[in-house]
C-alpha cells in the first residue's frame, strides 16, 4: 500500500521537499513509517523522535495501523501563537 508523508518546518528542510510517497506493507503502523523515514533520511532520526504523529490531519499515535492512501505527518514541537 502507498501512504503520503507531509513535512513541515525543520523536517521539511531536512527532507528538501514538502511531501513524499512511501510503499509500505499492508498493516504497517505509523511507527513503521517513522522507522522507514529514519533509515531513508538519517538526519531526520533525531528530530523524528521528538515529533507528534498525525494521520489524515488529526492527532494519532505510533501504534496506529495505516490504510492505503493515508496521509501522515510527523509534527515537530509547535511554535504557533
Amino acid at each position: 500500500m502507498r501512504v503520503t508523508v507531509r513535512y513541515f518546518a525543520a523536517l521539511r528542510e531536512l527532507a528538501g521537499r514538502p511531501s513524499e510517497a512511501l510503499d509500505m506493507p499492508v498493516g504497517a503502523t505509523a511507527g513503521a513509517v517513522r522507522m522507514a523515514l529514519a533509515s531513508r533520511h538519517p538526519a531526520m532520526a533525531g528530530p523524528l523522535s521528538a515529533c507528534a504523529v498525525a494521520v489524515n490531519q488529526a492527532y494519532s499515535d505510533l501504534e496506529r495501523t495505516l490504510e492505503d492512501g493515508d496521509e501522515l505527518a510527523f509534527l515537530p514541537p509547535l511554535g504557533g501563537g
Binding site: 507531509r6 513541515f8 518546518a9 525543520a10 521539511r12 498525525a54 490531519q57 488529526a58 492527532y59 505527518a73 509534527l75 515537530p76 514541537p77 509547535l78 511554535g79 504557533g80 501563537g81
Partner: protein, 140 residues
Amino acid sequence: MAPIVRITREPLDQTAMDALETAIMHPGAGGLVTFEGIVRDHARGKRVRWLEYEAYPEMAEREMRVIVAEIATRWQTDAIAMVHRVGRLAVGERAVVVRVACAHRAEAFEACRYGIDTLKATVPIWKKEIYEDGEEWVEG
C-alpha cells in the same frame, strides 16, 4: 453568525481586525476580549529581523475548529474569531488574533485565554526566527 477560523497569508491589519469584530459582535454581547500576538524585536536574547510562520493548513484549521467547539460548549458562545497568519512577518505585525464575545466579561476572559493557550498547544503551526547571524525553528 458562525465562528471565524482561518489560516491566512494576508496581513492582520486594522481593516482585518475591524472585519473580525463586525463579524462576531451581536446585540447580546456585553464583553469582548481580544488577544493579539505581535512579533517582538527580541527573542532568546537575540535581535529578531523577521519571523517565518508555517502551518499544516488543513489540520491547523481542523484543530482550531475543535477549540472553537469546546469554547462554544463551555462558555455558551459562537462569537469567536481565531486567525493565525503564516509566511514572513515583520516585527510589530500581528501573528495571531483570538477574539471572543460573551454576555459577561468573566466568560469572555476565560474563553479567550483558553483559546490562545490551546492553540499554542495543539494547532500545527511552526515559527522560525531569523536573527542577524542565523535562524532557528523555535518552540512556543
